[in-house]
């Protein structure tokens, strides 16, 4: 190639080796995955309303899901935003103690959400094999529950890492990104609740 | 336009330039989606005008993007080039992009309007 004798250079050695926020590549990758999964949710929502137009009554010949567990879970989701935001706030400091606490807190919320989700599943008042309404309802709740489990595993793994000295560098950025993903899970939970518990009563 | 100058120097782009880029596709998406969803509704209720309202509103949204792009175009300093390295040049490119884009989607929205001039939603 060319001689490297007197070439002007752009020296980047002073730049940081880890970045938080939007310039982090994993942050961007995470955004793309939220777009992918958001599209999936959107398509299931669209399918739900499409199937609604193919049926004269809704829910067809059964009562709407029992809403109490759903509302309780929605409240729980709302409060879980606190540890999520906390984890994001303390991550750049690298303070493993605080990170650990925030992540464990978030994990505890996720477990509680999951338990309540179990009760929700028992009170949908339909089965997935009965009719198309049941199928789409269970798919919606199931897809979201899958996300909840994934997020729980990820949070607990990060919490595990936070007990070791490996919780540094990009791992700290991952903690912040994990919280972004939790926000996504919470927002989709709210949207799903509106559909599962709301539209079955008012549509 | 001081806002333009300030944001461009920071290396970003002002909101109205992003609007010039986004308004066309958004307007067209709404136009197509709403028209498709409401065709049967407007047939069964007899509110045929609804479909024309959608056209006008969506074309308006796209035209607002065109206006943003145009006003940014006129207020950009003359030294901006399409290929340069500076944020200013990149903004100029975005503005050109926005102009072409908004115009293109206005044309697309007009094309979407043609069926409702000829057909009835109940056909």
């Amino acid at each position: 190639m060319k001689q490297a004798g007197e070439r002007p250079v752009l020296d980047v050695s002073g730049l940081p080796s880890v970045a938080f926020g939007r310039s982090n590549t994993s942050w961007l990758g995470n955004v793309f995955y939220m777009l992918i999964e958001g599209t999936m949710f959107a398509l299931l929502f669209a399918s739900y309303f499409y199937l609604r137009t193919r049926s004269s009554s809704w829910p067809p010949f059964q009562s709407p899901p029992y809403a109490v567990y759903g509302i309780a879970n929605a409240l729980l989701f709302a409060f879980s935003l606190i540890p999520a935001r906390l984890a994001q706030r303390v991550a750049p400091s690298g303070d493993r103690q605080k990170i650990r606490l925030a992540l464990l807190g978030l994990g505890a919320f996720a477990v509680a959400n999951l338990v309540l989700r179990g009760f929700e599943l028992t009170s949908l008042n339909c089965r997935w094999y009965e009719n198309a309404y049941g199928s789409i309802l269970w798919s919606l709740v199931g897809l979201h529950t899958g996300h909840l489990i994934t997020e729980l595993v990820e949070t607990m793994s990060l919490a595990g890492v936070s007990f070791t000295r490996s919780m540094e560098g990009t791992r700290l950025a991952d903690v912040a990104i994990n919280s972004d993903y939790w926000y996504f899970v919470v927002v989709t939970a709210f949207l799903m609740d509106v559909i599962v518990y709301g539209t079955t009563r008012f549509l | 336009m001081p806002e333009l100058d300030k944001t461009v120097r920071r290396g970003g782009a002002p909101v109205f330039i992003w609007w010039a880029l986004a308004s066309g596709p958004l307007a067209w998406t709404f136009d197509l989606g709403l028209s498709y969803a409401l065709t049967q509704h407007s047939c069964s209720t007899g509110h045929y005008y609804l479909l024309h309202v959608i056209t006008v509103v969506c074309a308006g949204i796209a035209l607002s993007g065109l206006a943003c792009a145009w006003s940014a175009h006129t207020s950009l300093p003359p030294e901006a080039t399409e290929q340069g390295r500076r944020p200013l040049d990149r903004t100029y490119f975005q503005v050109l992009f926005g102009l072409v884009f908004s115009l293109a989607f206005v044309v697309a929205i007009i094309a979407e309007a043609v069926p409702r001039w000829i057909l009835s939603p109940c056909d």
Binding site: - | V107, A111, V114, P115, I118, L119
Partner: protein, 335 residues
Amino acid sequence: MTLARLHSGLALLAQFTGEHNSLHPAGPQASGIEWLYWVVFWITFAAFVLVVAGFTRAAVRNRSSTSEMLPLVRDLEGDRRASWAVGTAVFITVLTLFAVLFMSIITGKKVEGLTSKNPVTIQITGHQWWWEAVYPNTQADQTITTANEIHVPVGKPVVILTNSADVIHSFWAPSVHGKRDLLPGYSSAFWIQIDKPGTYAGRCAEFCGLQHAHMGFSIVAEDQDTFQRWEAQQLKPAVEPNSSETVRGRQVFLTHACVMCHTIRGTDAGSRMGPDLTHVGSRRMIAAETLPNTPGALAAWIIDPQRSKPGNKMAPNLLNPGDLGALVTYLGTLQ
């Protein structure tokens, strides 16, 4: 003049002996679409010639035969002229596309615009792999049920109602109209009209399983008198057997597997799984236009339907030659 000749030349290239060709229309629907086809064809042909000419001219203009690496061109004046040329071309393209859009929608409106107070109505139900045709009537005994061969009066609007018994099929007689899907769970209606007497072939156009290839039908367009005679004939119950051979044939029919699937009105056979055979002898073809309705073909079909149409729902029938002959003779009398 030349255009007309070119036209007929191209039509010849895409020609077919008569009744199964979207460019040989027999009624207003297919004619409207054919008209649109030729208009759009000539527009796209012109676009094709212009673009190919443009690329050819561009290619020969500055072609360099050397394979050495040439220096880069920087031609601002050329760019400026190219901007105008490209701009003009895009403008013309947009106008042309709008013209196509207008013509397409207007043709669509015209093609679908047929209507009539008192049309002949035919309910078509797609089955794997045959067509059930019912001419509904409020009185049950005035309802015609037949299969694969549809009769319509010439010059009269006919409304076709669609439905499917199993998977998606698509009803398509290209000389009459474009295709329409038969979807399970949906029923829709469309209109046809045939102006020239004759027989028009049709096929299933949506992939529907093993015997998608052998799912044909035909539309027989005949003048009003003939059509009414046909109607009257179809309304009658099955012909009573009038010879020992045909009596035996009916006996074979009623005592073998035939009755599991088929109907012959006027007898005990009343199952709707397969085609209604009350007037099977009057049809030109059997097995959804797979075989001609000759005694030989019919006998071969009854013995082993899986041979000419593998996968179809009719099971082989091991009849002795005497029974088979009697059955075929009997079915042949069911005019």
